[in-house]
Symmetry: C2
Subunit: 174 residues, 2 copies
């Protein structure tokens, strides 16, 4: 599957030949289903968005506070089990996503990273809070790397609970 190859080897190191091979098809067959390599990539991108946009929708409405970010991140963590592979692929291909994102003049989707990036550079928010929000986000996303790596023997619910606990220690201590 393309998802696995992009995660293991990275987008730029994965060829259509490899993808087709793992699928038991030929390259030509892939072009019946997708018009380009980028489109395969973007299809996976869209799948993740469709799965998480409802969770992130609150960003449109609310003016986020520290507690608001905590609540959002906690909801995000709860969605991890069902989206682990997609998020992991995304995390391991940030450069490739940015490139396709820029070239394609991608439609304005309610992207959590855009709102986050805006908050992190917002001079209205105290520096300490901005740093904490950034730390919490990277902890949350990076935690996934280990969720598949070192924590395979750990119960999913326990992992979720511990991640929430860590988020609270980072954001809730005020």
């Amino acid at each position: 599957m393309a998802l696995d190859l992009f995660t293991e080897r990275g987008y730029g190191q994965t060829s259509l030949r490899e993808i087709a091979e793992r699928l038991g098809l030929t390259k030509a067959a892939l072009y019946y289903h997708f018009s380009s390599k980028d489109e395969i990539f973007m299809a996976l991108h869209r799948r993740l968005h469709e799965s998480l946009d409802a969770t992130v929708a609150v960003l449109e409405d609310e003016d986020m506070t520290l507690g608001g970010w905590l609540a959002l991140f906690e909801r995000f963590v709860e969605k991890f089990p069902g989206n682990r592979k997609l998020i992991l692929m995304h995390e391991r291909n940030r450069t490739a996503f940015e490139k396709v994102h820029n070239e394609g003049h991608d439609q304005e989707h309610a992207d959590i990273e855009e709102k986050l990036s805006a908050a992190l550079r917002d001079p209205e928010i105290p520096v300490r809070e901005r740093i904490r929000i950034g730390c919490a986000f990277s902890m949350m996303m990076g935690g996934l790397l280990f969720a598949g790596d070192g924590f395979q023997d750990v119960d999913a619910d326990e992992l979720t609970a511990e991640m929430k606990s860590a988020l609270q220690d980072l954001l809730g201590a005020y």
Copy 2:
């Protein structure tokens, strides 16, 4: 510079033509200084190791406890200002590094990620501690992404201090 291109666009999406172009040279001139594209990549890898191996050397000696990891991460954070670009490049090219690392049967260097990976899957360590160590590490590495992105107006010392404070909240509350 190759360092910038690998960081912006990723190793697999960067061609030698682009690197040479940004340097004001031709591809052929690059091959006088490096024997292959991989070697350019590994030269940057080695530069980071030479800069951080002294900090990580403690891993060889000690049997790490939770407090040991905290101390190590704090020292790591202090080394950030001088190694920001290299670490950022490393973080954004994990897949490419793993590939070169495997193919080249890279010499056993005291890599922090190997020791970390071992600790995360060590059944002797309580699950809660394993998760906290993983969270702290990803927070620390991911914090770099924002250090260059949203925190350009933040004083470097203040950022370091706040990162340490966050590390303590994650690892020191026991």
